[in-house]
């Protein structure tokens, strides 16, 4: 088959909602886009463990401690599924780890913000996981089979995390004056960065059109962002808190919430490495990786020895 025919039958499959599987022919750009997106997603899970892991030792009750640890552990699990999905496209986990540690690969910028108080554990769960879920629900139907299947498992756990985050804030919102202030402060700090999680405006986004044609993405950044605003603007009423946006208003005509302008300068600054924690996050990942090097070497050496012993025995 000629390249043109291959591309044509590839697009036909996508149009018919047939999943693309690892051994199927696919355009190089489709492979690369998926590798980039899935590995970035995996890195986000792994780096995302850090801001929440920051509060494990200080969680205010045994129940909260157990919930938080289980949540951070879930994220490690998500990272594993996603690295495995990316590996089906011909990149190794070592390579992906190196790209993350060297700063070459990107991860979600949201994790470059600091978690300053306990209320941040609630706000991250509710807003950050809430924003992530909208993207992830869409990705359960993405065209690359291994990615879609990983997302189905991940979504189940993520929606649980979002409810836990909301419940953490709900308890604070009904608590003492200090707790209520802590709750509002966390929402104020996490709201705008959460909106930025959907990426640049459609008019500025470089990857969107082709990704939609290939059904890697099924909704645009702006569509998902609007969906998120509509959802959170309603949920916050249950907390009796406010969102830090004076322009947030229900628009009868559009049947949507209007909202204010995102500070894109801040967004690009954090993407470029100037967020409050970019350096710390990368340093923490590198430290874990470097200090683990001797452990991984020992595990490999032992496995080799054991293999040799069995071969000798067999001989």
């Amino acid at each position: 088959m000629s390249l043109i025919d291959l591309e044509k039958s590839f697009q036909e499959k996508i149009d018919k909602e047939i999943k693309i599987e690892p051994k199927d022919w696919m355009p190089d750009a489709y492979r690369k886009t998926n590798i980039r997106q899935i590995s970035q997603h995996a890195h986000s899970e792994i780096v995302g463990m850090l801001p929440e892991g920051n509060w494990i030792s200080r969680a205010p009750s045994l129940k909260r401690k157990a919930i938080l640890i289980a949540k951070v552990q879930d994220e490690a699990g998500h990272g594993l599924y996603l690295y495995s999905a990316a590996e089906t496209l011909g990149i190794s986990r070592d390579q992906m780890m190196n790209d993350l540690n060297s700063g070459k690969a990107k991860y979600s910028s949201i994790f470059n913000y600091p978690t300053l108080t306990w209320a941040d554990m609630g706000a991250v769960g509710w807003l950050v996981d809430g924003a992530a879920i909208l993207n992830q629900v869409m990705l359960c139907r993405t065209s690359y089979g291994p990615y879609a299947r990983a997302m189905v498992r991940i979504c189940k756990e993520e929606s649980f995390h979002q409810r836990q985050g909301f419940e953490t804030l709900l308890v604070l919102s009904k608590g003492t004056k200090e707790q209520r202030e802590m709750c509002q402060d966390a929402i104020n700090r996490w709201w705008w960065p959460s909106l930025m999680m959907f990426g640049p405006k459609d008019s500025e986004s470089t990857n969107s059109d082709q990704s939609i044609k290939w059904k890697i993405k099924r909704k645009t950044n702006d569509e998902l962002r609007q969906q998120f605003v509509n959802m959170i603007a309603e949920q916050i009423k249950l907390l009796g808190m406010t969102l830090p946006d004076p322009d947030l208003k229900w628009n009868e005509k559009r049947n949507q919430y209007d909202f204010g302008e995102i500070n894109w300068e801040e967004f690009w600054n954090v993407v470029k490495g100037n967020g409050p924690c970019n350096k710390q996050r990368l340093a923490a990942r590198n430290k874990a990786h470097d200090e683990g090097a001797w452990v991984r070497a020992a595990a490999i050496a032992y496995a080799d020895k054991k293999k040799n012993k069995t071969t000798h025995k067999a001989a």
């Binding site: 892991g53 157990a66 032992y302």
Partner: protein, 250 residues
């Protein structure tokens, strides 16, 4: 509140709860910082099991205290509002993680002890203790298996991993004597557990070509509330929100 007012059987339960919680607190420092993603998940599983055990023991201790003293203790008041001198955990649980070798050697020494203890407590006359021991031993068997595999892997891995494992054993062994010296905080005659424990350790060390230390000075004090300097820091971090906002619900 002071442990001095607690009766012997309550301190027995608190001792078991404290050891599980303090080791969980230490192990949880690995979460998001482990050497391999799969092992980050594994050590975190153990952490969660230990927190679960601690909660079961604290809840039981609270019910004992409340039924006799008309108090309103909970798992959280017992974990978060007792002081350095009131905690009754084994010293080995509060020692710093240092590195992966120290972490897995400690887990192996401690979990192998817990395994023998829970095995014996399954026959305890107290129904609640019996039930917690029966539930916990399934988890503990896995902790022993996982940590023994790592001791063997590191002991018989590279020169560096062997060196680190030897250092860990040298540092941690002096804290194992306390497992088997009877104190009022012990629910049973713990000296009876030593033989089976030592057999298990010896077998695994043998497989890893490591020798079992002999005639080593043993530290003690944890079961009497006399700790290392590390515990104060663990508690100040762990308890800070409860201390800073007294009476708040979380």
């Amino acid at each position: 509140m002071s442990t001095m007012h607690f009766s012997k059987n309550i301190n027995n339960v608190l001792h078991l709860a404290d050891s599980a919680l303090i080791l969980a607190q230490r192990n949880s420092e690995w979460c998001a910082h482990g050497p391999i993603l799969e092992q980050d998940i594994a050590i975190t599983n153990i952490t969660l099991d230990l927190i679960g055990q601690a909660r079961n023991f604290y809840q039981y201790a609270a019910s004992l205290i409340n039924s006799t003293n008309q108090k309103n203790e909970t798992e959280d008041t017992l974990a978060y509002l007792r002081t350095e001198r009131e905690f009754l955990n084994l010293l080995i649980c509060e020692l710093p993680n240092v590195d992966w070798a120290h972490t897995v050697v400690r887990q192996f020494l401690f979990s192998s002890f817990q395994q023998q203890l829970f095995l014996a407590l399954q026959e305890n006359t107290d129904d609640a203790i019996q039930a917690i021991a029966t539930k916990s031993i399934k988890e503990t068997n896995y902790h022993v298996k996982w940590s023994a595999e790592w001791v063997i892997r590191l002991g018989d891995g590279t020169l560096e991993s062997r060196e680190r494992t030897l250092n860990a054993i040298e540092a941690l062994w002096p804290y194992t004597g306390e497992f088997f010296t009877n104190e009022p905080t012990d629910m049973m005659d713990v000296s009876l557990l030593k033989k089976a424990w030592l057999d298990k350790i010896t077998n695994v060390f043998l497989e890893a070509s490591l020798s079992v230390p002999e005639n080593i000075f043993m530290h003690s004090g944890g079961k009497k509330g006399v700790h290392t300097e590390h515990l104060g820091f663990i508690l100040s971090e762990m308890q800070y929100l409860q201390r800073m906002y007294p009476g708040a619900q979380w």
